[in-house]
């Protein structure tokens, strides 16, 4: 195959021009669609948990259950708080009675007395849906009942869900559960009905210590986004490649 310098330069210039054309240049949007596309691009919800500040009062779990109509006494919850007590011999004691709904008022862990002098460290870790960028739960849904919105929140269509439970198995964080009343899969959606009205999620609202905060990651002036982008934050189970969007300050290695 022969190729003169002139041909090569011509082809290269053409290829550069074509590849520089944005794909959207070929799509004609209506005014509303264009507006929606721009508006959506300005929001990507994220979440910051400061484990240093959490006192394990469990108000967030209580508020979440009330706000989102999760049966109060059923052993299911959209968010929960875990307690970790690491003793000086290196053993880790973990519990989350009723998901921490009634707080942690006893020093016993699973009926086990732990000598306070033997405790190396103790902390509380709130958990909730990570609103992943690559949600494993959405990938496995056979009917298209769960999906990611433009602002990054993963929602479940209660009309469309057939209750097969694949997503509950697929989530590496175990945030999904079977809703005992609606008979469909359910999970945290950052209180989508609140955040789209400019309110904070119920758990953020009810946290007295600022341990839970919501961020718009597309807004560089958002104070919480600034913390996430400039401070040392960690995510849970990064190795699964799900790109979780709940960030943790002060996350300990013992947290699973």
């Amino acid at each position: 195959m022969s190729c003169s310098r002139r041909d090569f330069l011509k082809d290269a210039a053409g290829a550069a021009f074509v590849s520089s054309l944005p794909l959207s240049a070929f799509v004609v949007l209506t005014a509303d669609e264009a507006k929606a596309a721009v508006a959506n691009a300005t929001v990507r919800w994220g979440y910051l948990v400061d484990t240093n500040k959490c006192t394990g009062c469990g108000m967030c779990v209580k508020a979440c259950k009330n706000e989102n109509e999760i049966p109060y006494d059923s052993p299911v919850t959209r968010t929960w708080v875990e307690r970790y007590v690491v003793t000086k011999d290196g053993a880790t004691h973990i519990d989350s009675p009723d998901g921490g709904r009634d707080g942690f008022t006893s020093d016993k862990i699973r009926d086990e007395e732990i000598d306070p002098d033997n405790i190396a460290k103790a902390f509380f870790v709130p958990k909730l849906c990570n609103q992943c960028d690559n949600p494993a739960c959405v990938q496995v849904c056979p009917v298209g009942a769960t999906y990611k919105t433009e602002d990054g929140v993963v929602l479940i269509d209660r009309e469309w869900c057939i209750g097969c439970g694949y997503c509950i198995m697929a989530c590496p964080y175990g945030v999904r559960f079977f809703h005992p009343e609606h008979k469909v899969a359910d999970k945290c959606n950052f209180c989508y009905h609140r955040i789209t009205k400019g309110m904070m999620p119920a758990c953020v609202e009810s946290c007295a210590f600022g341990a839970r905060r919501l961020a718009n990651l597309r807004d560089p002036d958002d104070p919480v986004t600034k913390i996430i982008t400039t401070e040392r934050v960690a995510v849970l189970k990064d190795e699964y490649g799900t790109k979780p969007h709940v960030f943790y300050l002060g996350l300990d290695n013992n947290v699973r």
Binding site: M59, N66, F104, S106, K121, Y147, D157, T196, M199, A208
Partner: protein, 157 residues
């Protein structure tokens, strides 16, 4: 082709056609790919609005302050100001339109959520709060019978 091949073939084609017809009727118009990914954005568009319409229950302290000045003012200058009204008083919902009285929780267990001494090291946030050992301090009594919850620095007269 012979009839014994053609007949079942027509039946099979008919069944497939029926399935497509049923799909046309049963799948809503707004079901499809709404976004840039078939994997993540394949859904019924109307569901987003359904979630947005979910009723809000916790209205926030600012809403409470619109009417309740008395206790709220005391509360706003006390160490308890970080605690939202609705944490103890219950979610406002449509109060006062539908729900005249909110389910106030003044149980001892409510206070113990923060103020039970668990004996953890100072690095635990919990250890920086004033705390009691449940089994030693006024067992079984309601905290609010002595301590004013709106300003815990004051005693109840």
């Amino acid at each position: 082709m012979k009839r014994h091949v053609l007949h079942p073939l027509w039946v099979a084609i008919g069944v497939v056609g029926l399935i497509f017809f049923a799909r046309l009727l049963l799948v809503p118009d707004d079901f499809g790919v709404h976004g840039d990914s078939f994997t993540y954005n394949y859904h019924r568009l109307g569901n987003i609005e359904e979630w947005k319409d979910f009723p809000v229950k916790y209205q926030g302290t600012a809403t409470c302050l619109e009417c309740h000045n008395d206790n709220a003012r005391t509360h706003r200058r006390s160490p308890h100001k970080r605690v939202q009204c609705e944490n103890c008083h219950g979610p406002a919902g449509n109060h006062p339109d539908d729900v005249e009285y909110l389910p106030l929780n003044k149980e001892r267990a409510m206070c113990l959520r923060c103020h039970a001494d668990l004996g953890y090291p100072a690095s635990t946030a919990r250890s920086n709060l004033p705390a009691i050992v449940d089994r030693h301090h006024k067992r079984g009594r309601e905290c609010v019978s002595c301590h004013n919850p709106h300003d815990p620095r004051e005693d109840v007269e």
